[in-house]
Amino acid sequence: MKELIKTKGVKVAAKEVDVVTTGTFGAMCSSGAFLNFGHSDPPIKIERLTINGVEAYHGGAAVDCYIGATKMDPNRPFEYGGGHVIEDLVSGKEVEVEARGYGTDCYPRKYIKTEVTIHDLNQAILCNPRNCYQRYNAATNGRNEVIYTYMGKLLPNYGNASYAGAGCLNPLTNDPDYETIGVGTRIFLGGGIGYVIGEGTQHDPKNGFGTLMVKGDLKQMSPKLLKGASFTRYGTTLYVGVGIPIPILNEGLARKTGITDDEIEINLLDYGIPKMERPVLKKVKYSELKSGKIELNEKEIPAAPLSSLKKAREITYILKKWIEKGEFFLTAPVERLPKDTVFKPMKMTRGVPLARFIMEEAVTCKVYENIKDVAKKIVEKEVNHIIIVDEENRIVGLVTSFDITKAVAEGAKTLPEIMVKQVITTLPDESIYSCARKLEKHKISALPVIDANGKVLGMVTSERISALIGKGENIEG
């Protein structure tokens, strides 16, 4: 389509092309499947169950459940989860079901363990509340440490960048006004046939972040196009292959499906910031992203998607073949997707505890002070940490009482010899959850609170955080 428009123009393209097939193959955490096991004899009303060690949700009738892609096996965290269970089922493998109930007059059984394959299930229905993001942000990491996120493993100091989605192959990007994609649209799903059953959760059309809710028969699907995955230290997920045909009903749709990677721009965000409001570092085009290198702060950084362009393209070909052979029929939506809704943040009725609320006075000294004086300060002020600052009160290092003891034992004379120069710090508006995570991750017991210019404002200590939690008081509000 893109070529045709370039060479012959929109009018001719609209006449010549009947359908444009789109596709995407990416990690879609909001995925899962409804399973029905049938009744055992004697029967059980399942209250809790696991499949291959992964807990499934059971809040419906006796032997129905929903297995979600991100639920992990507690014995294999970040390695095996609901997404892998779904892939194993689709592969025809046996899975172990273990279920417990409380026993009733009609369902006396309290425990069952059995092995089943997908063929033994009455229904196995993939039902994904949110798939197929119209577009998504790209991610990089400004911290000076590696971070593991749902956007992948991000190297320190903007060392690499990740993005999602297939760019100009993306279904909703080719039908941005949702003219042909709506409730009831028949689609390619995981290697089988599925349907759009509505807008997805967090559907955000006003900002160009539309999403779809989809379902399909798991029994038709293929493990090549539905794949369990794990993002180390973040969680498990499911890669879902989705393909959607877009009938070219008018010239407008011809033009819209002619969209190129050069015309799709997304925000590059710093995922090193542990808050929802992440700063936009720059706008970046898919054409730049797909080149494998993007420019940031006059440096080139490697960029790659976490989704598979190869599989997305394969999906568009398979769908095209199905349509040409008459094995797949297009449907008109019975209802359009909303175009005017927005995605709101969570309403929070209690304040968030921030570093600034719990910080204590920081005890500081200058780099030229001698070790004995610093030791005196530690005793006088009854602290374990001294922050070393310059004349402007900007942080240059940190010493602990242990460092001072060690200096005395080993005969070190000056602070620069013993101080830590790469200090882990926090900003005043970081939440205490983020502080606690830093303390735990780096096995340290205090965090200097600094402003954007590095000036020392105070100190958050692990004692203070423990005391808050230890008192059992509600730390919210």
């Binding site: 190297l155 794949k227 490697p302 790659a304």
Partner: protein
């Protein structure tokens, strides 16, 4: 040079490596061995001057020989190419023509950066 020897199930029980050692008078060093339902895999170091004859001898005895494989990508790979951004030595490349990821095993320095970054855990490093 390093090589990976693949034995099928029929050949596992045979003393093939020692046969080749004696036949070619080559000091073959076994770095790693693994046997499972599909057969056996042995990772060896072969003296460079005798490599050609040794490899031929293994092949004659029905052993599959892969050279210089320090790391490989299994068929779990979905070709997202994310590993490419983590490799410090360009041992993994993304071919824009075929939209596929390729591992150049002999370039790999086995740093392991890519291993935990792969969403389908498709990268195996011989250590």
């Amino acid at each position: 040079m390093k090589a990976e020897l693949k034995f099928n199930n029929k050949r596992i029980a045979e003393p093939i490596i020692s046969t080749v050692v004696l036949k070619e008078q080559a000091t073959i060093n076994i770095l790693k061995a693994h046997v499972d339902e599909t057969g056996g895999k042995v990772f060896v170091e072969i003296p460079d001057d005798k490599a050609e004859h040794v490899i031929k001898a293994f092949k004659d005895l029905g052993v599959e020989v892969k050279l210089e494989i320090l790391a490989e990508i299994t068929e779990d790979c979905i070709h997202c190419g994310y590993c490419v951004t983590l490799c410090p030595v360009e041992a993994i490349i993304y071919d824009k023509e075929s939209l596929s990821v390729k591992m150049i095993g002999e370039k790999c320095i086995q740093c392991g950066r890519c291993v935990d970054a792969c969403p389908t855990k498709a990268i195996k490093i011989w250590r």
